[in-house]
Each structure stands twice: as structure tokens, then as C-alpha cells.
């Protein structure tokens, strides 16, 4: 009843394969976009913005980037953290080494740097089929972190190797640095979210005319060439789109939350983003948001819930409970719906189509 699709006819492939083919969905998305602008600035506290929404904005595009690779192209990557580090350090270098006119756009430019690095590590995937990219990206993960740790130039010779976003303005508003208001950082985070749009366009190209060979490679999978080899003519090696989409994430990350160090981008981060992809749902744009929201927000919710309920327990116990509940939830969702939260939402939608009628 809520999702009544009657009368919504598609007359072109493009409209049929749109990300949101149903009118109601488009309205919901528009409403959410409006809410994303209005709600945090209107009633959000510092804590809301700093601890919840900005990390969410950091992870959502990173996860969307990996989604293009894992969800659509069917390749596994374990190097997301490393590519995010490239983005973060590139943003730092752009912001500190160039005049203000350029450095304001550091988070955008860093995407190009990460794309270039991703291209290099993506090359092997053009020739070899299967899990080879996982190995290549695993190597890149460790190599990149080692590089940023070892070469002091990347951190401008800081003794501790920590990078901090310098204060930069964009359109007259201070968006990075400690003096920037959380609201401005939040808005800047949205700018970082342009990787999202990029992955969006990738997705549509993958699902639309241009990149049709991309998802279909999953089905046919020719014996010799990898499926990413197939998409190479129409696009770049698989590493590139995903790493370019992943890179705004860390630049947002480094610019919005100040100091970072290489260890922040270790392989655990790669796993985290991979889990977001799996839990959110492979090959789904909505899954990007749901997965990131789940991984970022649920632990924070679990931290705050006992306090809100007036339960006072030792912090260690609380942390262990949080880990148990969080892990249990992941298992639960994967058992109930292996295709992720996006599929759960799809099922809900199908049910809502009939609701409140049984048939």
C-alpha cells in the first residue's frame, strides 16, 4: 500500500535500471538529503557531529568505493585502509605544500592521488583471475603503511609521524583545523562525500549501457581473463575507481578530525570497510549507507545505551558486552539475511507493498 508501483511505467532502459526506480524511493531519498542538511545543524550537538555523523561520512564513501570493486566487479580487496591512507596523506601534503587556493581543494585532489596509486596496484588484476587482487591489495596495505611510517617527508618530518589538518577555508568558511565549527566540518565532510557521487555514477555506468560487461562478468566469467580485465576497456583497472572513491573518505577523515597517524589506517580498517560492504549488502548503493551506519553507530549506541537507561556498570564490562552484542548482531544479520541490510530493506519494501492486506 505504501509502495504502490501501479502506473509507474518505464519506457527506457535507463529509467528501468535507475538506482531508485520507484517514485516513493526518490522522495524518501530527497527527504533524507534535506534531513542531512537541516537536522544536524539544527539540533545536533558537538558529540553528535564529531563522534557519529562525521565518521559516518568518512566511512560511507570509502565503503561505496569498495562496493564498486567487491559488489559489482566481484573482486576482493584487503587494501582499503592503505588507499585511505594515501588519500589522507595526499590531502595533508596538498594542504601544506601548496598555496591556499589549491590546498582548499586538497580533499578533492587527494582522490586523484589515491586513484593513481590504486591504478598501479590494480594492474595485476588485469591479467590474473580470481583472488589475485586480494593478495595485491594486501601487499599494498602493508607497503603503504610502511612507506608512510618510514618516509618522514609524508608527515612533514613530525617527530611522532602524526599528521594534522591545517586550518583551511573554503568559500570564506573555515572547514578544517581545530577552530572550524563541527557544522562546517560536517558540511566539508559532505564535500568529501563526493566520492559517493562518483561511485554512484560508476554504479549507474556499471548497471547501464556503458559498462554492461561489468556485472555480467560475474555470470559468464571467461576462463582466462579476469572479469576486471573485461571492464578495463570501458573503464580503468578495478583498483582505480574504487581507490579514488575510497580516498575522499580519509581526506575527510584527516581534515575533519585533525591528527592522524599511519597506524590509524592499518589492516583492521580494511577489514572494517569490507565488513561494511558485506553487512550492508554487496552491490547496493543503499547498502553503503546502511553498512557504514551499522558499523559506526551501533557501537556508539551500545556505549551510550546503559548510561541512558541509568545502568552503571564498570567500563570494562560494558566494553566486553558491547563487543559481544555487536558481534552477535553481525552474526544475526548475516544468518537472517546473507545478502545484507540492503536486502532486508528490499524485503521490507516488498512487504509494505501489500501491507496492510495479506495478499
Amino acid at each position: 500500500m505504501i509502495y504502490r508501483e501501479a502506473g509507474q511505467f518505464k519506457s527506457s532502459y535507463a529509467s528501468d535500471q535507475a538506482i531508485f526506480p520507484i517514485v516513493q524511493d526518490r522522495w524518501v531519498v530527497l527527504a533524507l538529503l534535506a534531513a542531512a542538511v537541516v537536522v544536524p545543524t539544527a539540533l545536533g550537538s558537538d558529540y553528535w557531529l564529531q563522534a557519529i555523523l562525521i565518521p559516518f561520512l568518512i566511512y560511507a564513501p570509502g565503503r561505496a568505493g569498495l562496493n564498486v570493486l567487491t559488489g559489482y566487479a566481484g573482486q576482493l580487496s584487503l587494501g582499503t585502509g592503505g588507499f585511505m591512507a594515501v588519500g589522507g596523506y595526499a590531502a595533508f601534503k596538498f594542504a601544506t605544500a601548496f598555496p591556499a587556493s589549491i590546498s582548499s581543494w586538497s580533499s578533492s585532489l587527494s582522490g586523484l592521488a589515491a586513484a593513481a596509486v590504486g591504478l598501479v596496484f590494480g594492474i595485476p588484476s588485469l591479467r590474473i583471475k580470481g583472488f589475485y587482487l586480494a593478495v595485491a591489495t594486501l601487499a599494498s596495505q602493508f607497503f603503504l603503511i610502511w612507506l608512510f611510517n618510514k618516509v618522514a617527508w609524508f608527515s612533514n618530518y613530525a617527530p611522532s609521524g602524526t599528521i594534522t589538518a591545517p586550518a583551511r577555508t573554503l568559500f570564506g568558511v573555515m572547514v578544517t583545523g581545530p577552530a572550524a565549527s563541527p557544522e562546517a566540518r560536517y558540511a566539508d565532510g559532505h564535500r568529501g562525500g563526493h566520492g559517493l557521487r562518483r561511485s554512484w555514477s560508476r554504479t549507474s555506468s556499471g548497471a547501464g549501457w556503458g559498462g554492461r560487461g561489468w556485472p555480467s562478468g560475474t555470470a559468464t566469467s571467461p576462463p582466462r581473463s579476469s572479469r576486471c580485465g573485461r571492464c578495463a576497456p570501458s573503464s580503468s583497472p578495478s583498483g582505480s575507481p574504487r581507490s579514488s572513491a575510497a580516498s575522499p573518505a580519509p581526506s575527510t577523515c584527516s581534515s575533519t578530525s585533525a591528527a592522524r597517524r599511519p597506524q590509524a589506517f592499518d589492516i583492521n580498517l580494511s577489514f572494517l570497510v569490507l565488513f561494511m560492504v558485506i553487512i550492508g549488502g554487496l552491490g547496493s548503493v543503499l547498502g553503503s549507507f546502511l553498512g557504514a551506519a551499522f558499523i559506526v553507530m551501533v557501537p556508539i549506541f551500545l556505549v551510550n545505551a546503559p548510561h541512558a537507561l541509568g545502568l552503571h556498570m564498570p567500563v570494562a564490562l560494558q566494553k566486553q558486552l558491547e563487543l559481544m552484542v555487536f558481534g552477535g548482531l553481525i552474526l544475526f544479520f548475516l544468518i537472517v539475511e546473507p545478502n545484507g541490510l540492503a536486502r532486508l530493506w528490499q524485503i521490507t519494501k516488498e512487504k509494505l507493498r501489500l501491507w496492510p492486506f495479506p495478499h
Binding site: Q50, P159, S160, A259, D266, I300, F301, N304, H307, T348
Partner: protein, 358 residues
């Protein structure tokens, strides 16, 4: 979408209620200090006693003295797992309670908080850790590194080693290895050590140990410089991993290695502890000749002070130097270095350590 909206509503409710409760608690006449602790995670073995110590002391002050000038101390713990991201989240959550100071107890978290401190008007108190440059109050009025910094600690250690050697000028040509946690905590002292190495002419080897640290085995990795001639371990910093246990002189730590200075045996006064070598499972009946390895190997090249300056010989690269100490010299010196094999040496080391403890 509904899931998400529901989640957001629940979250909003939780967070809206949270600060109110906090306000109620923090009102009253008290000084609020947030405690960023790591009672779980890989560093919990050192984090738990530290956190307990803080709580005990605050309780003591409250019970014995009735607080500070009659004002009770209030605190709230927040679990960071020694993870910077979680630590910052803790700070964001607790800064609303107008803390009198924040003690991040992690250099990584401190680095994150330093730029925020002047904006939020919160005092960051990083005692003996954190950013060394922040000790200059002209530029960092909100950050206090009392009583020491990593750099002053590093120079104090080198001075101490120099004093043991009979003067800083004696450090020339000696080998010092710095085994450090590969994090801001571990790296911060490196520039000072490099500078001092240039100044006093000792040879500095920096060995990074990645999170969370593979344990004491790092010393036993074959080929690691100076590992077979450990003489002195000094750990810097009072914060974090194992910091509460005091300096681990002459002892290898059981837990993760965080920062140790290892000096070549210019003053061989001890033997490696029994716990150190991995190969202590050696047969219990070692030939007596073998035990003599605890003698400084090249006693013929001793200095006038009678202390052997064991020069590394190419044929004795690995095993023979494992235990060079005069303590055990009561054992009969014999057996050329090439007569020994790794296993025996390790055992010798353990026996020797037993002897030195008596």
C-alpha cells in the same frame, strides 16, 4: 530506511538523555576529571592497574582529605582500548561535563586533543608523555606536559647510561639499540636519541615494534642487532603500555615490548634473565665448560678497569655473546666460542641468570 530511521531515533533518545544525567551527576560541588582508561584490548594488562591506581587515589583523597580543599573529586571512566579513535569519542562525550583537566593517557589521543584544547578551553594534562613541543606554554597554553617530556626522558636515560660507563665521553663508539612501540608514543623520543648519538658518538639502532607488539621474542630474533648482548633496558615514558611498572632495568618484559633501550655490554654486570631466551628448554645437564660462557668472552681484551669490552668477532656472531657477564665468572673459563651451539648458549644464559640473582 525504516531500520535506519528507527535506529537514529533510538540513538537520538539515548544521546538526548545522556547529557542530562551527566549534568545531574556533575553538578553538586565537585571537580570533574574524566578518566580515559584501557581496561580491555591488547594493552589491558598495564591499563587495568593504572586505571585502578587513579580510582584508588581519587578515593583516598576524597575519603582522607574530604577532597581538594573540601571539594570532592568526581570522575567517570571511559574505555579507549588505547585506541585513538575511541579516545577522541570519549573526550567528545565527556568534555560537556566541564572537566578541570583531561588526562588522555595515550600519546596518540593527546595529539588529537592538542588542537582541540584551546577551542574547547579544556586543559590537557599529559604527564610525561604526549607532544614534546607542547611543553612550550607560549604556543600551547592549554597543554601541560609536567613533569617530563619524552625528550627530557631520552636525554636522562643517555646521561644515566653515560654515568654507568664513567662519563658521557665514554659513550663514544658504543652501541645502543632503541626498541620502541611503532606509534607516536614510541617515536617521539627518536629525534633526541639521534641528536645525542651524533653528539656523544654512540651508534644508535632504532628497532620499531608494531602494534600490539610481539612480546619479548623480539630480542631473540636472530640477526637483530645487539640482541645477543643485552645489558641494560630502560623504558621511557610514564604513559601507556606498561608504564606503571617502573623502569625494567635488567629485565625483559613479559608483556608486549613497548620501549626499551638496549645497550651493548660495556659494563657486563649481569646475565640475561632466565625468562628471556626462548630455548630454555635445553637439556638440564649442560657440560660445565659451557657455563663458562658467562665470562666476558674476550677477557684478554679487557680494559684497564677490568671490564670486558666484548668486541664482536665474526665467528662468534650469534651465540657466544648471549651471556657476557663478570658476575658468573666464578665458573671456569674455557671452551673457545666456536665450540658452542645456540641451544647450549641459551641454557647457559638461563643458568647464569639464576646465578646472578643470588
Amino acid at each position: 530506511m525504516r531500520n535506519r530511521i528507527l535506529l537514529i531515533f533510538i540513538l537520538a533518545a539515548a544521546i538526548a538523555v545522556g547529557p542530562w544525567r551527566a549534568l545531574l551527576l556533575a553538578q553538586g560541588n565537585s571537580i570533574f576529571i574524566p578518566l580515559l582508561v584501557y581496561r580491555t584490548g591488547p594493552y589491558a594488562p598495564s591499563g587495568i592497574p593504572i586505571a585502578n591506581g587513579f580510582v584508588d587515589y581519587f578515593n583516598l583523597v576524597n575519603e582522607r582529605d574530604g577532597g581538594i580543599n573540601g571539594v570532592k573529586i568526581a570522575w567517570e571512566e571511559c574505555e579507549t582500548q588505547y585506541d585513538t579513535k575511541q579516545g577522541v569519542e570519549c573526550y567528545e562525550r565527556l568534555k560537556g561535563k566541564s572537566p578541570v583537566l583531561v588526562n588522555p593517557y595515550s600519546t596518540g589521543i593527546t595529539y588529537q586533543l592538542i588542537p582541540k584544547a584551546p577551542v574547547d578551553k579544556v586543559v590537557v594534562f599529559s604527564m610525561g608523555y604526549g607532544m614534546t613541543a607542547a611543553a612550550d606554554g607560549r604556543w600551547f597554553p592549554w597543554v601541560f606536559g609536567f613533569p617530563t617530556t619524552y625528550w627530557s626522558q631520552a636525554s636522562a636515560v643517555i646521561r644515566y647510561i653515560g654515568a654507568q660507563e664513567g662519563g658521557l665521553d665514554k659513550l663514544k663508539g658504543k652501541k645502543i639499540a632503541h626498541i620502541f612501540h611503532n606509534s607516536p608514543y614510541g617515536k617521539e623520543a627518536n629525534p633526541t636519541l639521534e641528536e645525542l648519538a651524533k653528539k656523544y658518538g654512540f651508534e644508535l639502532t632504532q628497532l620499531a615494534v608494531d602494534h600490539p607488539g610481539p612480546g619479548a621474542e623480539v630480542h631473540l630474533a636472530p640477526g637483530a642487532p645487539a640482541q645477543s648482548r643485552l645489558d641494560l633496558h630502560v623504558r621511557l615514558g610514564r604513559d601507556e603500555p606498561g608504564g606503571g611498572e617502573g623502569s625494567g632495568r635488567h629485565r625483559l618484559q613479559d608483556g608486549p615490548v613497548h620501549r626499551q633501550l638496549v645497550v651493548a655490554p660495556t659494563t657486563p654486570t649481569w646475565c640475561p634473565p632466565a625468562t628471556a631466551p626462548r630455548a630454555t628448554r635445553a637439556p638440564p645437564s649442560t657440560p660445565p665448560a659451557a657455563t663458562s660462557r658467562c665470562m666476558p668472552r674476550s677477557s684478554s681484551t679487557s680494559t684497564t678497569r677490568g671490564r670486558a669490552r666484548a668486541r664482536r668477532k665474526p665467528w662468534a656472531s650469534r651465540s657466544t655473546t648471549a651471556a657476557s657477564s663478570t658476575r658468573c665468572s666464578r665458573r671456569r673459563p674455557s671452551a673457545p666460542p666456536w665450540a658452542s651451539h645456540g641451544n647450549k648458549v641459551a641454557h647457559r644464559a638461563s643458568r647464569c641468570a639464576g646465578a646472578s640473582r643470588t
